[in-house]
């Protein structure tokens, strides 16, 4: 289809880009506004006097606008920094555990035939359909009794219930489409475990990297569990720190700046994901 780009195609792409970027732009703009501009009505379409003050404020620094005018550090800077650290710890630990667990599991489902496979596969797909709110009820009751509410450990365990089923499903589709290397590895004298570790995993590294990125994204973006389990405790994540801002409305530009910081890691991986995400076959395991 080596057709020239027509006017319509240009227009279509322009619409798609505007549709995608408008909500993000609106927020990016808000993080750069001065308090006066934010209070102004109607809201300005562009920041007339863009200032990065909010980004300093949320990390606890004052920002000197002019010699007389200083925009003070946010009172919630401590929560933001704490949330950022907790989010990083939880996301990294969840990603590591997820990958350790998911790679062998997906491999077994993708490449081997055994009894009960279909039933087990359906169980995994079903657990993707579990609403987080329902999973939370028993966990909450359990955690209250065990004293695990408000701990990073508790949050990590619950978050794994989201990442493991979904990432397994993705990887099954990916691993199925690898060339049939097992027989050759067998001839070369590898055991099954060695085949997995020395042949399949290196062969599948790009798919495994995508899976790891997605596990990280899911953990990083998780909000429901954090809201109930760690909100308002020292284990709060960036997500719950943000909602603290949102519901107290002290300074919209601080909220906007914190949100922009929270979507930075996702934005950084978007380029990587757009190239590789379609390799993860979500359709195959269902067929």
């Amino acid at each position: 289809m080596q057709r020239r780009m027509t006017l319509w195609a240009w227009l279509g792409i322009a619409v798609a880009v505007v549709w995608t970027l408008l909500p993000i732009y609106w927020f990016l703009k808000m993080s750069l506004l001065t308090p006066d501009e934010i209070a102004r009505f109607p809201p300005p379409l562009v920041p007339l006097d863009p200032t990065p003050a909010a980004y300093f404020n949320i990390f606890g620094f004052d920002y000197q606008v002019t010699p007389e005018l200083v925009r003070r550090a946010s009172g919630q800077a401590g929560q933001i920094i704490n949330g950022l650290i907790n989010s990083l710890i939880v996301s990294i630990v969840v990603t590591a555990i997820t990958m350790l667990v998911v790679v062998p599991l997906a491999y077994v489902f993708a490449r081997l035939d055994f009894r009960f496979k279909q039933a087990l596969l359906i169980t995994i797909l079903l657990s993707v359909a579990l609403p987080p709110v329902s999973t939370l009820i028993p966990f909450y009751a359990l955690y209250v009794q065990l004293g695990l509410a408000g701990t990073r450990f508790g949050l990590i365990v619950v978050t794994l219930t989201i990442t493991i089923p979904f990432v397994t499903w993705m990887l099954i589709g990916y691993l199925r489409n690898l060339p049939p290397v097992e027989r050759l590895a067998r001839v070369d004298g590898y055991t099954r475990l060695e085949t997995l570790v020395f042949i399949v995993i290196p062969l599948a590294r790009s798919g495994i990297a995508v899976a790891a990125v997605i596990a990280f994204l899911f953990a990083w973006n998780e909000y429901t569990y954090a809201l109930v389990l760690v909100n308002g405790t020292p284990a709060n994540t960036l997500a719950t720190a943000l909602s603290g801002f949102l519901f107290q409305h002290p300074e919209p530009s601080h909220l906007a700046a914190a949100l922009v910081v929270s979507i930075l890691p996702p934005v950084l991986v978007a380029y990587f994901l757009q190239r590789h995400i379609a390799e993860m076959n979500l359709v195959d395991p269902i067929r």
Binding site: P23, P43, F114, P165, A239, S262
Partner: protein, 302 residues
């Protein structure tokens, strides 16, 4: 190499099932612990009245929680809101996803950059999407207000009201989900041989006929799968709605997940919440089964 064959000969005689168990058993045990056990526990809880104040106690009440539901107007309202939100989200997400996929399939300059931009919404968290859309759609800070004033209006334009809040939610949700749909459809589109388009041109097919006869058929099973995925994601969605509208104004956007959250963690009526969460789970599984029976079975057999 020969040495390895003899030294490992014994273990390689494991049957597929044995190896699968060895690899998967620890993991499946963990899954049982973190998925099946809570589910069972929740089922048990749905038959209890749970009291937090004055020490954690449970009283067996049988099916009372389920019976309460039948006479609970808020419960029936939440089902209706969930259905409306889900249908709108899925239709929008699939339509936008398909449109984006067709667009991205054309040759263009800087494809990597454009595709990265299109991918962005899926990477943004749902609570982040909720915060963004709440500021975008409410009158005081909204984009529509800014545009309306630009053209001379004098009062704010808000969409977060009883009438439109569900549509705002559906649009935001579709904004977030469409890229996922688009990228998987795009992968399918790439497998269509160019030759087929040449043949369609020889047959003097109109663009619409070409789309219907050449482009669409290989996409159909993927479309089905993603209709299921977006349905499940929309029905179980909570954080986005909680952040954007908090179930409001009034109860205008009180979907089932929001009701369950409110009953369980605000009113601390965990038994009743658990009972409702089983209804939700039943609805989710039921709607995907229905989709499969009506549509998927036909496509899979194709």
């Amino acid at each position: 190499m020969a040495g390895q064959v003899t030294s490992t000969g014994r273990t390689s005689e494991l049957s597929n099932l044995q190896f699968a168990l060895l690899m998967a058993l620890p993991v499946l045990l963990f899954l049982v612990l973190v998925v099946a056990y809570p589910l069972g526990y929740a089922l048990w809880m749905s038959f209890q009245q749970i009291v937090f104040f004055g020490g954690y106690r449970t009283n067996f009440v049988g099916l009372a929680n389920y019976a309460t539901m039948l006479g609970d107007d808020k419960f029936w309202w939440s089902i209706w809101v969930t259905v409306r939100f889900t249908v709108e989200s899925v239709l929008l997400a699939m339509a936008i996803g398909l449109a984006l996929a067709l667009l991205l399939n054309r040759p263009m300059r800087r494809p990597g950059l454009i595709r990265t931009i299109i991918m962005l919404p899926w990477c943004v968290s749902l609570y982040g999407t909720g915060i963004m859309f709440s500021y975008l759609a409410t009158g005081q800070t909204g984009f529509a207000t800014a545009i309306a004033f630009f053209f001379g209006a004098d009062r704010p334009v808000s969409f977060v009201n009883r009438q439109w809040v569900i549509e705002v939610l559906a649009i935001g949700n579709a904004w977030n989900m469409a890229p996922l749909v688009a990228f998987f459809l795009l992968a399918n589109l790439k497998t269509i041989p160019t030759r087929l388009y040449d043949l369609a041109a020889i047959d003097r097919m109109s663009p619409l006929e070409t789309f219907w006869n050449v482009t669409l058929p290989p996409l159909r099973f993927t479309l089905f799968v993603f209709t299921c995925i977006t349905t499940v994601l929309s029905m179980k969605l909570f954080d986005f709605i909680f952040v954007l509208s908090g179930g409001g104004p009034g109860t205008a956007s009180a979907v089932m997940t929001y009701q369950i959250y409110k009953i369980s963690f605000r009113d601390l009526n965990l038994g009743y919440g658990a009972a409702q969460s089983f209804v939700l789970l039943f609805l989710i599984v039921g709607s995907t089964m229905t989709l499969y029976a009506l549509w998927g079975r036909r496509e899979a057999a194709r």
